[in-house]
Each structure stands twice: as C-alpha cells, then as structure tokens.
C-alpha cells in the first residue's frame, strides 16, 4: 500500500489496529497533560474492544476516566472540558450509542466556535467503534458516519489501517475542532506496519492504495481491504482498478478522486452505511458537478448497505453490506459493460 509504508523508521513494526490506537493515546497523554480519555469501561476493563487496555495503570484514574452510562452527559462533559483548556478523547462504546448524544455533538460541539464568532474552540475527539460483521444485530452494528459528515463544524475520519488509526488519531488530538473517528470493530485485530514515532496522517487527505487504469473504486473503512482483495482478483482477469481509501469524509478530498476518474473514466463508491442518501450519493454528485464528469464513460456505481436494519442472522447480515464478491462483480460489470 503506497501510503502505508513505514518509510525510513527502522523501529516500525507490525501491530494491530487496536494497539495502534492505544499507542497514539499513550503518546498523546505522555506528551500533553491536557489529554484525557473518558468513556464507559475504558478504565480497568480496558474498553469494550480492549482499545484502552492498560492505559489506566499508566496514566491513572484522573486521566483515564470511567464514566456512568450517560452518553449525552459525557459528550457534553467532553465539550465543556474542551472549551476550557483540556483535550478530551471520548470513547463511545458502540458508535450506535452516539444517537443518545446527538444533541451535544451536533448542536453544541459542532457549532460553538461558529456561534461564538471564533471566541472558543472545541478540541475534542470522539472515537466510535462501528460497523457490522460481529453478529451484534441492529443496534450495535450501524455505520452512521454520513450523518456527521453532513454537519458543518465537525470533522469525520475513518481509518482503514493500523498506520492510519494511529496517525489520524494523533492529528485529531492536535486539531482545534471536534473530530469524530469511526473505527471498525472488524479491524481492531488486523495487523499492519506502524512506525513507533509520533507521526501524523493529515485529516482531509485520501490515499491511493492501488493504482490502476480501468476503474476507480473509492472505499471507506473496512471496505478498503475488501476492495483491495477484489482488485487483486480483477487484475487476474485483466481488469486494472485504482483503489482510493477515502480516510476523511469531512473535509473530503475531492481532488484525489477527480484526478483518478480523469484517468480511469469509471467510478464506483463502496461504503458500509446504508446506500440511500449516503457517502456514495455525495461523491457521485461531486464528480457529476466537476470537470471529471466529462471523462466518465459509464454511469457511476454505488455499493452500500441494503435499506434494512442490520439483521442478526449471519447469512442475512453478510448479505446486507457489500462483500468482496459484490465489489468484484460490480467492478467487473462496470468495466466490461458499463455497469449494466
């Protein structure tokens, strides 16, 4: 993966996505006493997905704070801490639970800097484990990132690799604005090369993960690895696809997508959220409004989740969101027949 190499760092090594997040948190907390981690069961339990792990033993209960199950309250507490000099990182145990905190995220965190004419900043980070594939059913499996990408004042990122999980989190903690990080539950145990140093991945910059000439596949989150696996199979059949990892939904890197479309003349967007009114609609419209539209040789294809709450049955759950096979078939059809 071109943007995921460790570079010259001899100490780069393979760790998991969860370890990469924990490493970023530990680095930020060691460097800056203003950084605190708060959330439900982030202390001795180590986080529902083991992300915070032993941080409470390293930084103490004053900085790794177990909260009551009060999502609205803790989101507001993060806002209050952020506007008065702290750098809170809030873990929402399952991203679905952010629905309980919408008020503070959407009405307060996103708008305070603007409403106050720039007189206060809200430098808070919200970490949100999301996505399907764990058999957790309709209230613990959603991909709601597009909701927040609709809100001016928020930044929304979705790391797909351990490298980006660390680099984007460190950028998010530095950022003077509220940043929501949609992590993926299926990715926590995946491994990748991550430098030991405190590097940053810029927010708002997509990554070209694989270069190709026949079609562009823009993917988010867990869909990136599925798109890359599909691309490998497509290559064996003589179809060359360019895979772009969007990484950041807001701000969005339209230029990287448009440049790729100008090269390949075909575009497919793959995301885990519900297809209707989602990320794919926005990217399609942005390309349709841009000069890249003139380069298109086929209609744009969107692959997203079916219009259904996530089902429990493993068979149905798998069918509800795009899989490698779906991406492979749709991309092959797009290149061979224009998507018909």
């Amino acid at each position: 993966m071109p943007n995921d190499v460790a570079g010259a760092d001899p100490a780069a090594r393979e760790i998991t996505y969860a370890e990469a997040i924990r490493e970023a948190l530990a680095t930020a907390m060691a460097d800056d006493p203003r950084v605190i981690l708060m959330g439900e069961d982030v202390g001795v339990y180590g986080g529902a997905f083991g992300v915070s792990g032993d941080l409470v033993h390293r930084f103490g209960v004053e900085r790794v704070i177990d909260t009551p199950i009060s999502e609205l309250g803790i989101a507001g507490a993060a806002v209050g801490a952020a506007i008065t000099g702290m750098r809170p990182v809030l873990e929402i145990q399952f991203s679905d639970f952010i629905t309980l905190a919408m008020e503070q995220i959407v009405n307060q965190a996103a708008k305070i800097h603007f409403m106050f004419g720039g007189k206060a900043n809200v430098p808070m980070v919200v970490r949100l484990p999301g996505g399907s594939g764990t058999g957790a059913a309709a209230q613990h499996s959603q991909s709601l990132e597009a909701w927040f990408a609709h809100v001016p004042g928020l930044k929304v990122v979705q790391p797909s690799t351990p490298h980006d999980a660390k680099g984007l989190l460190l950028s998010a903690i530095d950022d003077p604005n509220p940043v929501l990080i949609f992590e993926h539950k299926l990715l926590y145990k995946t491994r990748g090369i991550v430098p030991t140093e405190a590097f940053r991945v810029p927010i708002g910059k997509a990554a070209v993960r694989r270069e190709g000439g026949d079609a562009t596949i823009v993917a988010t989150g867990v869909m990136v690895s599925r798109a890359l696996a599909a691309a490998e199979r497509l290559a064996a059949e003589g179809i060359s696809t360019e895979v772009i990892d969007l990484r950041s939904l807001r701000p969005i890197d339209l230029e990287t997508i448009a440049a790729s479309v100008r090269k390949t003349s075909r575009l497919m967007v793959v995301y885990e959220g519900v297809k209707t009114m989602g990320i794919g609609a926005e990217i399609s419209a942005m390309i349709a409004e841009s000069d890249a539209f003139d380069y298109l040789d086929a209609p744009i294809v969107r692959l997203g989740a079916a219009d259904v709450p996530l089902p429990y049955s493993p068979k149905l759950e798998r069918a509800a969101v795009p899989q490698e096979e779906d991406i492979f078939r749709a991309a092959a059809s797009l290149v061979r027949t224009g998507g018909a």
Binding site: P68, G80, T84, N107, F114, F116
Partner: protein
C-alpha cells in the same frame, strides 16, 4: 464583602456592603432596561428573529453572580441576557450582537440565543433546553484537572429539569465532586406548561436528594437571599466539596417568546407577580434600612438608562458582517 450586621436588618441584607448592593441594583436596572429596549427595538423592526426576555427574573441572575469572580465560569440559557450582564458583559456589545453586527460579542453569528462573553467567563447562552448542563460537568472536570481556583455556575429553567441532561449532569457532578453550582430559575412555565403539570416533585430542588447534594428552594425575587444562598454553594464548590442545586422561584412577566399570547395563565397572575418586582423590592428594603438613600437609587437607575441608550446607538452605528465572511468561524485554524 460582608459588613457588621445592622440593627433591624435580616442577615441576608446586612451581609452585603453598600458598594455590592449598589452594583447589584445597577445590574438589575441594566437588565430590565436592556430587555425593555430589546422589545422596543423588535417592535420597531430594528432587530429580527426572536427573543426570550427575563423581565421579572433580575434578582436570580444578579444575586447568584455576586459571589462569582471574573475568572469563574457561567453557562446560560435561551433566556440569558440577564446572566450575561450579571457576569459583567457590556450592553453595547450585547446589543451589537442582537442587531447582528460585526462588533457584537459573537460577531453577529450567534444573536440573542447564543451570546457568549468567553473572556468574561460566560461560556454562552444556549438554544437547547438543558444544553448547558452537561457542558458544566466538563467545565468542572477541567477546573479540577487543572487545579484552578474557579467554579462553574450553570443556569437552567424549570423546563430543563425534566431533560435527561439534567439528571445525567447532576449525577456526574456529584460522583466526581465537581465545583459546579446548578441554578434553576423556576419561572413556573416551560413555554406554556406549568411545573405542576410537568414535574413529579413539588420543588425542583427536592431532586438534589437523589444526587446526594444540597438543594435549596428559595424566593428568587429576593436579591440578598439569592446572593447569600449562592455564596454558600460557591464557597462549598471552591472548597472542593462538590456541587449544589439552588432553585430560585421567580416569574417571567413577558411571554415565553414573541409568539406567546399568554393563553395558559391569567392577567391576575401576571399582575400579582408584577407587584413582586425584584428591583422595586430591593429598593424598598434599602430605603427602609437607610442604605444608599433615595438620591443614590435614582442616580443608579438614570445611569443605567443612559448606558442602555448609548449601547443601542453603538449597535445601530456598527457595521454588518461582510458577506465574504459567510463561512468564517466554521472551523478553528
């Protein structure tokens, strides 16, 4: 601040020296005249949008802020002009904000419902009922983490006491012993719905018991009493002993907002509360106890009127935001 008790004065009044009481009266007049002028400007089409006037509630805003230092924080509500003035904001920049001008506290981006004076410790009014309550918890965490000698006072109305945010916030402030003072301004109506119809307890401060903190229900139109009660809560917070809940029973003489036709309450009720005007009440008590004197009282009111008139002129003559700045302040750099 306190003086020796004087004969015939209740302790709440004698606890405050002349300078403190004169300043409190000045701010109460400023609030009243700010609200009346705002209403007048609206009627004459000089300002748009809506507004939530706090006429009748001046004692709870001013009294509760007396024990606060400039470095202490407040979080306010949609009915927040009074809190803003009480915390020390200047009416000219408030009116400029109300007029949507670039010289306003929020450069015209917030308006009446989102006035903030961050430098003065006012972290903002809030358009969402109960919106400031969880934020106060975070401010309290921040004060504690940074070991600052500060407290956070958060205002909310009776309507907010039935929001989940109220319960989550009191609970968190209590378990973490945060330096937060919760001030409920109970004006008896959440828009049109009375406390009796909306709330399962007789007094909102009774709910403090559920969160293991002191709770006081007091006459919110009695400035010395509000100030004395707030002082106890603020000192407790400063000592690190945790939060308190104060319920100030008061009344808004005007409707909820501009759309209110007062269909849910009687003229008699409104008139009865007008007779309990907190400003005239304080003036009467001061005169009865030979504090300040009538000439000084008249001078304070006249000065406030002049300050408000000048504030409106400042707002009128200020520049509107430049269209090129439409998307400014969406993100901090």
């Amino acid at each position: 601040m306190s003086t020796l008790p004087r004969a015939n004065q209740r302790p709440e009044l004698s606890a405050f020296d002349d300078g403190t009481l004169a300043e409190a009266l000045r701010k109460m007049h400023l609030i009243r005249k700010f609200e009346e002028a705002a209403e007048d400007c609206y009627m004459r089409g000089l300002i748009h949008g809506t507004m939530h006037l706090s006429i009748g509630q001046e004692a709870s805003a001013v009294g509760s802020a007396i024990p606060l230092a400039k470095s202490d924080y407040v979080l306010s509500t949609h009915r927040g002009h009074g809190h803003c003035i009480a915390k020390g904001a200047s009416p000219d920049r408030m009116f400029a904000e109300f007029f949507g001008k670039e010289t306003g506290y929020c450069n015209g981006r917030g308006g009446s419902m989102h006035i903030a004076d961050v430098e003065g410790g006012n972290l903002g009014a809030n358009g969402i009922v109960g919106g400031g309550l969880p934020i106060a918890v975070g401010v309290g965490m921040s004060i504690k983490a940074q070991k600052l000698d500060r407290v956070c006072m958060v205002y909310f109305g009776d309507g907010a006491n039935n929001e989940g945010a109220f319960h989550e916030s009191l609970n968190m402030a209590s378990i973490w012993k945060l330096p937060v003072v919760f001030v409920c301004e109970n004006n008896n109506y959440g828009m049109s719905t009375s406390v009796a119809r909306s709330t399962a307890v007789a007094n909102i401060a009774d709910r403090a018991l559920a969160y293991s903190m002191p709770g006081d229900t007091i006459d919110g139109n009695d400035l010395p009493l509000v100030a004395a009660t707030a002082r106890i809560a603020v000192e407790r917070a400063r000592r690190g002993e945790g939060p308190s809940l104060i319920e100030c029973k008061t009344y808004r003489i005007r409707g909820h907002s501009k759309s209110d036709r007062n269909l849910y309450r009687t003229k008699e009720e409104i008139e009865a509360w007008k007779a309990k005007c907190p400003i005239r009440r304080l003036e009467g008590e001061l005169l009865n106890h030979d504090r300040l004197g009538s000439a000084r009282l008249a001078e304070i009111e006249a000065d406030a009127a002049r300050e408000i008139a000048a504030a409106i002129e400042f707002a009128k003559s200020s520049a509107e935001p430049d269209l090129a700045g439409l998307t400014r302040y969406v993100y901090a750099e």
